[in-house]
Symmetry: none
Subunit: 220 residues, 2 copies
Amino acid sequence: MSQSFTEENYLKHIYKLSKRSEKGVSTNALAERLETKASSVTDMIKKLAAKKLVDYKKYQGVTLTKKGQKIAVDIIRKHRLWEVFLLEHLGFGGEEVHDVAEELEHINSETLIDRLDKFLGHPKYDPHGGPIPNSEGVFPEPKRVKLDELEVGRKTKVMGITEHSDAFLTHLKKLGLELGAEFDLKERFDFDRSVEIELNDKTIQLSHDVAKNIFVSYNS
Amino acid sequence: MSQSFTEENYLKHIYKLSKRSEKGVSTNALAERLETKASSVTDMIKKLAAKKLVDYKKYQGVTLTKKGQKIAVDIIRKHRLWEVFLLEHLGFGGEEVHDVAEELEHINSETLIDRLDKFLGHPKYDPHGGPIPNSEGVFPEPKRVKLDELEVGRKTKVMGITEHSDAFLTHLKKLGLELGAEFDLKERFDFDRSVEIELNDKTIQLSHDVAKNIFVSYNS
DNA sequence: ATACATTTTTAGACTTGTCTAAATTTCATT
DNA sequence: AATGAAATTTAGACAAGTCTAAAAATGTAT
């Protein structure tokens, strides 16, 4: 079974919108993302459901099936491999890359992608730090490190803590640093090893005592 | 004004069919080439004529206008540049290349093609010996010919081959006739069209079957 | 819990590119 | 020049993907 360019785009965006919300993706959210109308989205969703690429109940939003997910992840793989090529080998600048990769990602040839992957040296991350799934659709393990050892400038995600006192837990909760929270490490101050992070558009200072007890993961 | 994938394909094939026949391209010839029906071709031709990309009089066949020709030549440029990339950098074999290049040639980005061209070192010919037009649509001077048509006495250089079977490749390798090898054409024997060449001070006989599959280039 | 606003779906229409079947034009042959 | 064959065009239909406008379902106030 084969997908059209358009179907692939729907699957890709359903995948991306699913990541943040647990719930099924709403028709309106998809319509906005795809710059189309809600009615068009409904039509396409029905078609994808008939092909067993998404699960769909009227008015309840969509989620990808295993099959749909595999296709979406494949497209992300292709997109990111092409981005590596464009940025590292053709000398593209950061912004120019996206639209072109958007077209290249729909070229259908396993051989092409396998050979491109090899040519690029089997990269695990694209130049923006996006993880590149392998041909089985498996993403590379993100790297884990304690926040007090993380390189300044990285985007990261809270993966765990090594201190479990109530005091620490409530402190974190108040800051919004719960499991899975994503933030950027902006700066580290050498004199006390405290750090400054940006979380949900807020700038927060963390002492070394806090930072050393937080496990974070990052890509690339 | 922008063309669809399909329109571009029509233009490309009209261009290729025009090359051999002087006359306008017939509806049936196009239909056969595009693996579609004559009626579909008529419909599309009317659309292309409305866009001033072809000249068309009912029952008289089509020819490209200047505008249509430019688009067709651009696609050939893209196709051949991608072929160079696939064959020389990704390690594709002779046959696999075509279908993939057929898709890649429709990616629309001047930036992409300019940078790819630069990456490849501004090649003038693809590995099959096809001349690559520049971005203005001008083809390089054709100083290139198959070995079985080359004038006796010339110094030449192997520029490409048109047969990619393992048997042929190992045969050439054994003879030392690799890409870039230089030799002189000493003699041609009319009775079987075999040729005698001198390569690295050795005299070698080549059958017509071998000679006809080797592209050579010569100066002036 | 009822009424209003928002979201989603349906119904019908349009475009692109295709097809089949029938009509028309051109060509080749006598 | 007439006629039958081949090539081409027209007419009408269809699938994909989109749209607008209207109907139905859901969510949210008070």
